[in-house]
């Protein structure tokens, strides 16, 4: 599950009177009395993904005016609020021209979030979007927004009424779902393993520093422990820095809506892939279990980029190669934006009244468990009843009538891949689904997540510097550096709690006093 990291509730909430509310006088010595409105500045791609002419990147927070000045070359005054201005948009560091586009300035509180905000309307190509997002991420005090953060800030600023808040939960849920799938996609593979490995090593470093702080006075924990940490931290720094400098940025990230074809063996999944891409991309044979690995192909459906994957038929197999294929198939379904579940219509019960229950049961074997957020009723599943030409016409019509608007079941389309009957209707349904998915700003926009990763990695390296800086002067502050680095890395790989660190301490050291 995702860690819930939340912004400030304070303005919206009547506060419980706790002892914890520091009085200004008591805090004066250490914690600045300055109000906490100096929130960080966030940015995100706000327009939908897909083939669009114009993309909108939104910036919100106190540094918004700085961002405008730096990236739109506005050395003098800012433009009047809410007025579009055509500017050259450049990289703040290299001054390289990124795009020519419209910029807008919104002075708080007259903005969506209630904070100072800016918008960049740029050309919609992925290269331009990525370049602008990366340029924004390189500015100090500016970071990519977390899921639903713009909306949340608007909520805290009192910009949303309570009725709108009802919808907010669902909105955040939707965004989070999209992010979860995306994170899964990226964590799968080399990059994921790399981050996990860093996180593990950093955890050990922290555990060893903490052990030295909390126990070395009473226990046999030699100074050598710290020397090991020194070299581990240095090694990590080097690796992360090298990774950040690498222009290829690891593996190529896929773009587009991920559509996955899944189902039992011999239902006609590969035939569907071939039908959709209008070429024999996958081998088709009457032998069950022909497809063993994932077959991918890029498609354009209604103007939107789609990555279509054909997967191995799901069945228990004694063949280890096929078993691996089934594992990959299930994993791919879990990461999918849209799953096409293909069913052999000749296998349907002849009594149309029993079909709904049959399909329900069938879906539960194909789709991941409901905790993963995907249910049969979800709008992320389509049922394809293939081989319709082999079913008597009358039975098909009665079944169709039975399945129409059936709550708890996704839309079902009868289709014959061999005769192409029903293909038009199916394409219409598929196209509208893909379109909806592309309206989801986060699906298939890896550059945004990528920019987020970059920002967290950079902050992680900075924090590790603090370790070296204070290593000999103040170990508490040095440890703080490692903790902070782990927190930033944890934004990518998952939060690390104090208990986890203690577990490592007690595993690696015998603490006896």
């Amino acid at each position: 599950m995702l860690p819930c990291s939340w912004g400030l509730w304070r303005s919206a909430i009547h506060t419980l009177k706790t002892f914890s509310r520091a009085s200004p006088s008591a805090r004066g010595l250490c914690i600045p009395t300055r109000a906490v409105c100096d929130a960080e500045t966030i940015f995100a791609l706000s327009s939908g993904h897909g083939r669009c002419g114009v993309a909108v990147v939104r910036v919100s927070g106190p540094a918004s005016s700085m961002v405008l000045r730096n990236m739109a070359g506005l050395t003098q005054a800012l433009p009047p609020p809410r007025t579009a201005l055509l500017r050259r948009i450049t990289d703040p560091q290299s001054k390289e021209l990124l795009d020519r586009g419209l910029v807008l300035w919104f002075k708080g509180p007259h903005s969506f979030t209630g904070e100072d905000s800016a918008e960049f309307h740029i050309h919609g190509g992925p290269a331009v979007i990525t370049a602008v997002l990366q340029a924004l991420g390189s500015l100090e005090g500016v970071r990519p927004a977390e899921a639903g953060e713009f909306t949340r800030r608007a909520f805290h600023a009192g910009k949303l009424g309570l009725t709108e808040v009802e919808g907010l939960g669902d909105l955040i849920h939707a965004e989070t779902e999209a992010q979860r799938r995306q994170a899964l996609r990226q964590m799968d593979g080399e990059l994921g393993r790399l981050y996990q490995d860093w996180s593990y090593r950093l955890k050990r470093c922290l555990a060893h520093v903490e052990a030295f702080i909390d126990f070395s006075e009473d226990e046999l924990i030699e100074d050598g422990v710290l020397n090991q940490v020194d070299s581990s931290v240095r090694q990590l720094e080097t690796e992360i820095e090298r990774h950040l400098k690498d222009e290829r940025r690891g593996e190529r990230l896929r773009t587009g809506v991920q559509v996955v074809i899944a189902g039992a063996t011999n239902a006609g999944k590969s035939s569907l892939l071939n039908t959709l891409c209008q070429r024999p991309a996958a081998i088709v044979s009457p032998i069950a279990g022909t497809t063993r690995d994932i077959v991918e192909t890029s498609l354009d459906i209604g103007g939107f980029p789609v990555l279509l994957s054909d997967t191995a038929g799901l069945r228990d197999s004694s063949d280890s190669v096929e078993r691996e294929g089934v594992r990959r198939a299930r994993q791919r379904v879990e990461q999918a934006d849209l799953t096409l579940v293909v069913v052999d219509s000749t296998q349907l019960p002849p009594d149309p009244q029993l079909v709904a229950a049959f399909l329900q049961e069938h879906l539960s074997t194909v789709l991941p468990s409901p905790e993963a957020g995907m249910t049969a009723a979800s709008d992320r599943v389509l049922l394809v009843l293939n081989k319709s030409d082999l079913v008597p016409e009358e039975q098909r019509e009665r079944t169709e009538g039975e399945l129409r608007e059936r709550p708890g079941l996704p839309p079902a389309c009868f289709l014959s891949c061999s005769t192409s009957t029903g293909l038009e209707d199916f394409l219409t349904v598929l196209q509208s689904r893909v379109k909806t998915l592309c309206g989801d700003p986060l699906s298939g926009a890896p550059s945004l997540t990528q920019a987020r990763h970059r920002a967290h990695l950079q902050q992680s390296v900075q924090a590790l510097n603090q370790y070296h800086q204070y290593r000999d002067q103040d170990l508490a502050l040095a440890a703080e550096g490692v903790r902070l680095a782990l927190t930033h890395l944890g934004r990518i790989t998952g939060r690390v709690g104090a208990e986890e660190i203690l577990d490592i301490i007690f595993r690696d050291f015998c603490i006896g006093k």
Binding site: M1, L2, C4, W6, G7, L8, W9, A12, I13, H14, T15, L16, K17, T18, F19, S20, R21, A22, S23, S25, A26, L29, C30, I31, V36, A147, L162, V165, E166, G169, D170, I172, H173, T176, E210, F212, D214, F215, S216, E217, D218, E219, L220, E371, Y470, D474, L475, A476, L477, E480, A498, E499, I501, L502, I505, F506, C510, I511, G512, K513
Partner: protein
């Protein structure tokens, strides 16, 4: 008559003071009753009385009030921070430590002031005497010897959450009930406790004391339906000092100048030159052999109750990390005691084998045992059933503190005791309960960890548990806690408050004075001699910036600007620490504010999550229903909780809260109370 059955301490000690002398003997109604006279109980009773509540402390044996049942020491890394905080809230243990200490040292001296660990070896006798005389001179506090048989429980106050309300206690001797508005239970290891030595097992919580608490266990488990778990701990044999060859051990000297625990003390009772040393020695392969040979004779070690990973018996250390040398500290038990305490040798094997084991260590080759070591297994109440004020969620007025909540250690017990006493007192005086934030104190971290996450092994404080360690320092505990302890909580006496305020103002002035002296870095180099400054020559630095540098001390600055700085000499160490940590604490302030605001939104404990009319998934409902988080902050930390769920929850509480605020306002304005418009969400009954 009740009075004849009670053995009041008044018979033994002349200095007994009470606001209602005479009538106390027959008194049967108190504001607060504290059960137990250990570290938690004494702090709880003293805190409740300081708050203004008529308080009764009931203990099995008056003479064991303030006894150190295990190690003769106080403080350490993490634990020392707790002692400083208890002292800042006017608790007893800091001053008792200063009075009883015979060997003072600051641990972690080389690792940065945030993790310094003030620690002292104690004279057991002096510690007990101090605590006892302190309790006896506390107004509104009565001490009674007796065993509690049962808790008296009645219908709850319908205005507040809970299924029961505590109304007092009944003693074992069957006398009249003693009534009270709140009860604090600090029964330590006495809840279904059993003692283990070798193959023998006997009921009890501490060797030499009565067993008791069976009735209390019954009330807690059966009547109140509280979930309990089982934990174990142990204590080492006590060794006759004369029989130890100390020349074969390494001498560990105390600090030359003892640093007192208490903010009120400038020096300790023990003079620097009177301090006693500790000795360090190590286990040998022979020790491991004895352990292995005796496993089959050792019930405690074979049984599967959760023992701690950090204070394990020598048996489990040897079995878990074989082939290693383990440290053994030989600690003095007091100025006049003829015993040594072998820290690190807690064991539960049969006594004759204990002797064999000891004698495998060179310095102990002819050691004699005065009392053998033994193990204890005991019940604890799963602390997730408590609120952050340490009240049992289901039972109004019932508070728990100390080992009964699954913690280990004197300092952890004292900290909880103080806070439970504060809230028991506040409840009795009809004041709203209070919570301590984990951003402000180790006590807050301790309680939040306990009630938010529960325990699986005895909980001990480590500095690594505190997210804001660089702010929660031993040096500034008074500034963090004392002013508010007086102004808001009411557990701090005027004398201490005035002292803390004057320190705060003095430091503030000194910081301003430091900031007022600004020079270019070139000029600073001229003034202070050859110091290395990383800034370029023309950068202007003020005194506070400069003090951040490792090689710069306040004394150096004061000698450069004597006219404006020399008057602050007494604060030189604190100013140096403040200068180094200040920038880091400022960076953390946003995160602190976030946690604090989440902590401040409390979720009613009687919320019916399963039928709440908001959009929550069944899975999330079940998680919430099972854990019943106290605050929104705790809810966000639950594994499995979704961001959307939090938003819905927030929205729901917000709406119902506002509705209730309107009614609250009406009630308030009629009472003409100016309460800043803030209200305690935990007091709001949520109407469906």
């Amino acid at each position: 008559m009740l009075a004849q059955k009670l053995h009041l301490l008044r018979h033994n000690v002349l200095s007994f003071v009470s606001s209602r002398t005479g009538s106390d003997l027959t008194r049967r109604q108190y504001d607060v009753i504290v059960v137990g006279g250990g570290h938690a109980g004494t702090e709880a009773a003293a805190a409740a009385a300081r708050l203004g509540a008529e308080t009764l402390l009931i203990t099995q044996k008056i003479m064991t009030i303030g006894a150190l049942s295990c190690n003769p020491s106080l403080g350490g890394v993490g634990k020392g921070q707790l002692v400083r905080e208890v002292d800042a809230l006017d608790g007893l243990c800091g001053r008792a430590g200063d009075s009883a200490g015979v060997h003072f040292s600051i641990l972690n001296r080389s690792k940065g002031p945030a993790v310094w660990g003030p620690r002292a070896q104690l004279d057991r006798e002096r510690y007990r005497q101090f605590i006892q005389s302190e309790l006896l001179s506390t107004p509104r506090l009565t001490v009674l010897e007796g065993s509690v048989d049962e808790l008296l429980v009645s219908q709850p106050n319908p205005e507040e959450p809970g299924h029961h309300r505590v109304t007092g206690i009944r003693l074992v001797d069957g006398s009249h009930p003693i009534l009270s508005s709140s009860v604090v239970l600090t029964t330590g290891t006495f809840l279904s406790g059993s003692l283990f030595m070798g193959q023998t097992t006997s009921p009890g919580g501490r060797m030499g004391d009565a067993q008791s608490c069976a009735g209390l266990s019954y009330t807690l488990k059966e009547t109140l339906g509280l979930r309990v778990g089982r934990l174990r701990t142990g204590t080492p044999p006590r060794i006759v000092k004369e029989s130890v060859d100390l020349s074969l051990a390494q001498l560990q000297a105390p600090d030359k100048q003892p640093t007192p625990f208490s903010f009120l003390n400038t020096h300790t009772r023990c003079k620097p030159e009177e301090q006693l040393p500790c000795y360090l020695t190590h286990t040998t392969p022979g020790v491991e052999r004895v352990v292995r040979e005796s496993v089959h004779l050792n019930c405690h070690i074979q049984q599967d109750a959760k023992g701690p990973r950090y204070c394990p018996s020598i048996e489990s250390r040897v079995l878990r990390f074989p082939g290693r040398r383990h440290q053994v500290w030989l600690e003095p038990e007091g100025l006049t005691s003829d015993l040594l305490y072998p820290q690190g040798l807690s064991m539960t094997m049969p006594p004759e084998l204990q002797l064999r084991l000891l004698r495998e260590i060179p310095a102990l080759h002819r050691a004699e045992i005065r009392t053998p070591g033994y193990g204890v297994q005991y019940d604890f109440v799963c602390p997730t059933q408590l609120t952050p004020s340490l009240q049992v969620k289901s039972t109004q007025g019932l508070f728990l503190a100390g080992q009964i909540n699954g913690t280990t250690g004197y300092e952890e017990a004292a900290a909880q005791g103080l806070w439970a006493g504060v809230n028991a007192g506040r409840t009795a005086l009809s004041l709203p309960p209070m919570a301590l934030s984990r951003t402000q104190s180790y006590i807050g971290v301790l309680i939040d960890d306990l009630v938010g996450r529960g325990v699986t092994e005895p909980y001990r404080m480590f500095t690594s548990r505190a997210e804001f360690r660089t702010y929660l320092r031993p040096d500034n505990a008074d500034l963090r806690l004392t002013p508010r302890g007086f102004e808001e909580v009411g557990c701090v006496t005027l004398r201490r408050y005035k002292k803390a305020v004057s320190v705060r103002d003095g430091l503030q002035e000194a910081l301003m004075a430091l900031q007022s002296v600004a020079l270019s870095s070139t000029r600073w180099r001229e003034k202070l001699g050859n110091i290395s400054l990383s800034e370029n020559k023309s950068t202007t630095l003020n005194g506070l910036d400069l003090l951040q540098y490792k090689d710069v001390s306040f004394e150096m600055l004061a000698s450069a600007f004597p006219e404006c700085l020399s008057q602050y000499f007494e604060y030189s160490q604190r100013l140096k620490i403040e200068a180094v940590y200040r920038p880091h604490c400022e960076k953390q302030s946003r995160e602190m504010e976030r946690i604090r605001s989440e902590e401040s939104l409390s979720l009613p404990s009687d919320m019916d999550y399963l039928s709440l009319p908001v959009s929550l998934s069944q899975e999330v409902r079940e998680i919430l229903d099972r854990v019943r988080p106290n605050t929104l902050g705790a809810a966000t930390r639950l594994p499995g909780m979704t961001p959307a769920g939090i938003i819905h929850l927030l929205n729901y509480v917000l709406r119902t809260g506002q509705r209730n605020r309107h009614t609250e306002h009406r009630n308030r304005s009629s009472q003409k109370e100016g309460e800043k418009g803030q209200l305690c969400a935990s007091n709001i009954p949520i109407s469906q």
